[in-house]
């Protein structure tokens, strides 16, 4: 019965969200009270419906109800219960439910935390959000129903959750990412509502800013966690692959970063009003486009969702409706002229303009590289190509460099005109000294300096120096000064740490593939590595060969296990890497093939500063979350 209840709740959700999608707007436009509905109550009912519907799917997973097709495809009686729980969003159908749930959570938070001066404005945001949720719900029910039954004879056991998803990072990575994606619905709805009611730029930017910041924070966390998961779970030590599915998250991230920076200028100086509206639309659109690219299967990706062209067409329809609809409103609307104070080339406004320009062009170039194989295939009648990772690296580097240089001076700029650029001297001095210290540390740690890493390391120092501005306020007020800009300090220093991590790990990593039998020893970097023994182990739903490895240097000895697992329900092989984490480097070993009796191949890597990448991302997420909450309190 439970799946049917979930299904019915979803249908009721569909009907109510449809009503919510147009009734409040109708009552505003007809100025007719009869259509007015209590939107807060409706929002709560919608939330309750989708939440219970989601719970009923969770319940089907927990009790191993394999008559539900989705459960039978993604679970198994031997799966530990916490993975059964997480398997709910292990594939397409369930993650859609989670997505709608997340959208609804954002909507409720917006309605209760952001007090808009005009009731009609809140009504419009509610209506537009309901339209988005309605279309997602319709999509779920028509093409991806998670409650579909296999009747009359249900399978005795399920096919199991994809083994590489049976992992702690996986249980939280998708929800965070979906919260990030779906959060962009709020700035979109606000932007459309702002056009409909001709709201002042300052006013709507203030409403939109916290929600953009929070979505961006969730996106950051989701992407960072995905990268960390790929690093240790896929077994080969890479942390970013420029896979379409990664780009699909990276592009909306870039646009959301651009958007909240542009909104700062919009709120403070009434500038970039129309630009911020367009950016809100496109940030939301790229989050939908990412879904389309990944779920329709038209791009080759490591993420293999059950692919279905029909779904692709449907998502494209949703995307087209909202983008064309909102752009139509944009082009037909007479925008009220905001009063704008002029700004000079040296102003903070122009700084934000450059920041947005660089971020948007970067996003467009990455998006172009991601979908270029499709364009090429269409233009050449089916010839297939792929765009390699170097393409994205060539594009990213100059833009990241320019953005970083700008980021270093950004916090010194003033609105209108920056009177003096004397700070450049101190900034250069500070960043050069920091650069020297870091090079010294790197030399002590690794006995080596690589020219190739100098640019990124210097960039990181430049950003840190420009953010902390130690010499600017050399008195007791310095802490007050920092406290006032705590959020931006966290986020920008986080970016510097990330840049430093990327720079060092790219230049200093070493790796080697080799063949060993138990008892073998070899030298690698400053480590002596011993393949001690190999044994058979048994897990709840897998059996494995585990190799015991010892890493030894002058200071410490650490032992790790790397495994080759065979998951019994599916017979799928996975590699579990053995990782020793030290403050400045990771020692990483993964098991390859069994070549003969006890002869195995291994891949061993030393990855300096790799953790700093995720530490930086965490700080960015923390900073933008802090800024988001501060903004909510102030409004």
């Amino acid at each position: 019965m439970t799946p049917e209840i979930g299904h019915i709740l979803l249908i009721v959700f569909l009907v109510l969200s449809f009503a919510g999608g147009f009734l409040p707007l109708t009552s505003v436009y007809l100025k007719n009270q009869t259509f007015e509905i209590p939107i807060k109550k409706l929002a709560f009912s919608l939330f309750l419906l989708i939440f219970l519907s989601f719970l009923s799917l969770v319940y089907s997973f927990l009790i191993d109800d394999f008559s539900v097709a989705y459960v039978s495809q993604n679970s198994n009686t031997n799966l530990p219960f916490y993975y059964k729980f997480a398997a709910t969003w292990g594939a397409h159908e369930g993650s859609l439910l989670l997505w709608i749930l997340a959208m609804n959570a954002w909507l409720i938070s917006f309605m209760f935390l952001t007090k808009c001066s005009d009731k009609n404005f809140t009504n419009a945001v509610f209506s537009i959000s309901c339209q988005v949720m309605f279309s997602f719900c319709l999509f779920t029910l028509l093409t991806s129903n998670p409650f579909e039954r296999i009747l009359p004879i249900p399978p005795l056991n399920g096919a199991d959750l994809n083994p590489s998803l049976q992992d702690i990072a996986f249980t939280i990575h998708p929800p965070l990412l979906y919260f990030g994606y779906s959060g962009l619905m709020i700035p979109f709805a606000i932007a459309v509502a702002a056009m409909l009611f001709n709201v002042d730029t300052k006013e709507w930017a203030a409403y939109s800013r916290p929600w953009t910041l929070l979505s961006c924070s969730f996106l950051t966390l989701g992407i960072a966690l995905g990268s960390w998961w790929a690093y240790y779970e896929l077994g080969w030590g890479g942390w970013w692959f420029w896979d379409p599915v990664e780009n699909a998250a990276f592009v909306p991230w870039l646009l959301s970063v651009a958007l909240f920076h542009s909104l700062i200028a919009s709120q403070s100086r009434s500038v970039f009003g129309k630009w911020s509206i367009l950016l809100s639309i496109f940030a939301f659109a790229t989050s939908l486009l990412g879904t389309f690219l990944v779920r329709s299967g038209i791009l080759t990706s490591v993420h293999a969702f059950a692919l279905d062209p029909e779904r692709g067409v449907f998502i494209l329809g949703i995307l087209g409706f909202f983008v064309i609809g909102s752009l139509l409103i944009y082009s037909l609307k007479d925008f009220k002229k905001d009063e704008v104070k002029p700004y000079q080339l040296s102003s903070k406004e122009f700084g934000f303009l450059l920041n947005n320009l660089l971020l948007v062009i970067l996003a467009v170039s990455i998006l172009f590289g991601t979908i270029f194989p499709l364009i090429y295939e269409a233009a050449t009648n089916g010839k297939q190509i792929s765009v390699g990772a170097p393409y994205f690296e060539i594009i990213l580097f100059p833009f990241a460099l320019a953005l970083g240089l700008l980021q270093g001076i950004a916090l010194y700029l003033s609105w209108g005109v920056t009177s003096s650029f004397n700070f450049l001297q101190r900034l250069t001095l500070e960043s050069v000294s920091l650069f020297g210290i870091i090079l010294l540390v790197l030399f002590i740690l690794f006995d080596n300096l690589y020219l190739s890493s100098f640019a990124t390391i210097f960039l990181a120092c430049w950003i840190v120096a420009g953010t902390l501005q130690v010499s600017k306020k050399r008195n007791l007020n310095y802490w007050n000064f920092l406290k006032k800009r705590l959020a931006v300090t966290f986020a920008h220093v986080g970016m510097a740490i990330l840049v430093l991590g990327v720079g060092v790990v790219t230049s200093y990593s070493i790796e080697k593939e080799l063949i060993l039998t138990p008892g073998d020893e070899f030298e690698f970097g400053d480590q002596k590595i011993t393949f001690q023994s190999i044994e058979d182990t048994l897990g709840p739903n897998y059996f494995s060969k585990s190799a015991n490895i010892i890493f030894e240097d002058e200071k410490d000895i650490s032992s790790v296990v790397t495994e080759k697992r065979t998951y019994t329900p599916s017979g799928q092989l996975t590699t579990e890497a053995g990782i020793v984490t030290e403050p400045f480097q990771d020692l990483y070993i993964s098991m390859g093939d069994n070549l003969e009796a006890d002869i195995w191949s291994f891949k061993v890597q030393i990855k300096p500063f790799i953790r700093w990448i995720w530490l930086g991302a965490l700080l960015i997420a923390f900073g933008s979350m802090l800024a988001g909450f501060n903004r909510i309190q102030r409004s």
Binding site: Q344, L353, Q384, I385, Y391, P398
Partner: protein, 141 residues
């Protein structure tokens, strides 16, 4: 010039420079990093030199995987059920590499008609079929 006009001019110049640089970067990066895909049949008449990176793929033939136990050299054959292609690779194969499974490799075509792979692409789902390979098989049916 009035300040608002001047401000627009600055913005316009910035946008122009940014787009020009980006376009140039995109075009040059793309022309160097675009890897064409060839099926074993197409590769027979392909005019590809030994240094151009291309991709090839198909189904891994049964009993065609030969692993050297001293080095990490491995040889296998992929097929599109019309023609075969011999592939050489040095390194550890991904977990999902198996006989009768679809595979895509990246590397160079050698003069003797064999393929030297520098990368064997893996997907993390055993039911997954690279679209290029899926297309080859569907065309045959």
């Amino acid at each position: 010039m009035n300040p608002i006009r001047k401000q627009r001019l600055y913005a316009l110049i910035a946008v122009l420079i940014g787009s020009l640089v980006a376009t140039w970067l995109v075009v040059s990066a793309l022309s160097e990093n675009m890897n064409l895909f060839y099926s074993p049949t197409e590769i027979k008449d392909a005019k590809v030199d030994e240094v151009t990176l291309i991709r090839a793929g198909g189904m891994v033939k049964e009993d065609s995987i030969i692993k050297d136990t001293r080095t990490l050299n491995v040889t296998f054959t992929v097929t599109d059920y019309q023609n075969d292609l011999e592939i050489n690779y040095e390194g550890i194969l991904p977990d999902l590499f198996a006989e009768n499974a679809g595979v895509v490799v990246r590397g160079n075509l050698k003069k003797d008609g064999t393929f030297k792979a520098i990368e064997v692409l893996a997907k993390h789902d055993e039911n997954y079929m690279p679209p290029e390979v899926a297309k080859l098989i569907n065309e045959d049916l």
